[in-house]
Symmetry: C2
Subunit: 323 residues, 2 copies
């Protein structure tokens, strides 16, 4: 087999990844936890072609930018090294969701790329190893390899910083109702942002508390305890953005409309709706809610002039070879 | 003399006060630094009246709320104790600016109250002692007693946590161009907010860096170095709001319109305008600028739909007895 296609979902972090102890290996400063998003995916085909003089990447049918091509090629280098091959590849990737606007496109992209590239070479690796390889392409991509609700461990070594599922997508029918505030591509890509994390005086304190929040969040998910989940998810999101906005230079991912939604969601929860907010490195607000609250959350979001679109998604499966 | 009137200006902090080591004495967790605001003032008349059975307070010609009356009476108790008197007072206070919306009304109020009450009793205290008494009424009131640019020291004892001027109002013709985002009274008064500061995991790190920021800011003011001032003022404001929004429960003082202005101001600075932002415990954005930039800043703010009013003020003098 020289060619394979894999599909992976993006994920929304409930406990955030922000900052590395090791930038080259992308060993994260803290453990994180996420839910795959069924409603969105990246599908990537990798074809290893003898005689090709360089890797070649297209995204959504267009030749990729120089930056994207280099990042993908660097990732293929890691896979070539691991598999002991010396061939270049043609890579074609399709997203069914907008890139760079708060839905983690690089997570799905590097998860799908890793799984497709290994399969195309006719190799079989453990899921655990696939998560560590994907991690080196984009940290949160490690969490898009396993299914459903996923934990990614912080560790000192490449092998120990892996991700695994702790509950399948059917464990709890949560919804992520995404309030799209802007479709513009964000100014600072997450990769660059991670490097600024340690310039914030607040990052050590955020990291110091992360394991405790991780434990609370994981247990709340296991026990389907929404009230506990809501508090820790919002707190963890606020902590990450607090670090971002106190970095040097400061990073503000929120737009005014993000704040509008962030201020309404806790009020809705006080009114009895099971909903909480979380924001990745972008302006869109992920409103995490129980299935019974999802339609109401969607219609309330749609009524806001600051919200340009609403997407609704349920827990997603693992990265998989599709053909 | 049984009756005296004093006038005091509010102040805008460049290095923020947030959180106490001692709530009763209002000994602050960190040193802070501010500029008095000439364009706004509180004028307070205190009359000590023999035979009055209780203190009596009116604000802007109306009987004050129970909460405000109790807080003023508690402050008069401190002054009675210090001066060795046992008389109640009629207090009438007038503000020429809206209360509770980001302009520190309690600072001007407790500075004027302290100065008027002492003068009405026919006593003369040092400015240093007046700042420590005012501090117990409202922490930042200590900074509204001296003139111009004022530093307030963090210390372990009542006597050592005083404020003093390090430059008069004529030292540097900075302007505070205030973008009024909302005239609504804020939901959480600062007094309650200060008590939540230590519930944020980030407060120790903010406090740990405060003396360094204070030193940088003070020197930038002494040297009239706007670029340095701008960076440290915005950073310190962001740090305080980072602590607020990660407190338990979280406190969000920003409104969407606050964020609009906060995102524009650094862009304007990059375009060559000497302006930076800072926000107290409220949604209004204080745009600190050099005098030559003030008209341009004002007209740019007035053009924003989120800005309901713009006020412009220069450095102010001390709290003074007016009659």
């Amino acid at each position: 087999m020289q060619k394979a296609t894999a599909r992976a979902h993006p994920n929304i972090a409930f406990i955030k990844y922000w900052g590395n102890c090791d930038d080259d290996l992308r060993l994260p400063s803290n453990p994180s936890l996420s839910m795959n998003l069924a409603g969105a995916h990246t599908e990537t085909t990798v074809e290893w072609i003898d005689g090709l003089t360089a890797d070649d990447l297209e995204i959504n049918g267009q030749p990729a930018t120089e930056d994207a091509s280099q990042r993908v090629s660097a990732h293929l280098d890691r896979i070539r090294k691991r598999l002991g091959i010396d061939v270049h590849a043609h890579v074609a990737s399709e997203n069914n969701f907008p890139m760079g606007a708060g839905i983690a496109s690089s997570a799905a992209a590097f998860a799908a790329l890793t799984v497709a590239a290994v399969a195309a070479a006719g190799e079989t690796l453990t899921e655990r190893e696939l998560t560590t390889i994907a991690r080196m392409g984009s940290g949160s991509a490690s969490r898009s390899v396993p299914t459903g609700f996923v934990e990614w461990f912080a560790a000192d070594t490449h092998e120990e910083s892996y991700a695994q599922s702790f509950a399948g997508p059917d464990h709890w029918n949560l919804c992520d109702v995404i309030a799209v505030i802007s479709r513009e591509h964000k100014k600072t890509v997450s990769q660059a942002g991670h490097r600024t994390a340690m310039t914030s005086d607040l990052q050590p304190a955020r990291v110091a508390g992360a394991q405790a929040r991780f434990d609370i969040c994981r247990q709340a998910l296991v026990e389907r305890d929404f009230a506990t989940l809501a508090t820790v998810v919002e707190e963890d999101s606020n902590l990450m953005h607090a670090v971002m906005m106190t970095s040097r230079p400061p990073l503000f991912y929120w737009l005014p409309g993000s704040l509008t939604v962030m201020q309404l969601v806790p009020e809705w929860r006080q009114q009895g709706l099971n909903v909480c907010y979380t924001l990745d490195a972008g302006p869109n607000v992920h409103c995490i809610c129980t299935a019974d609250a999802a339609d109401e959350v969607r219609s309330r979001l749609q009524a806001l002039s600051e919200v340009v679109d609403v997407r609704m998604t349920t827990p997603g499966g693992p990265a998989e070879v599709t053909r």
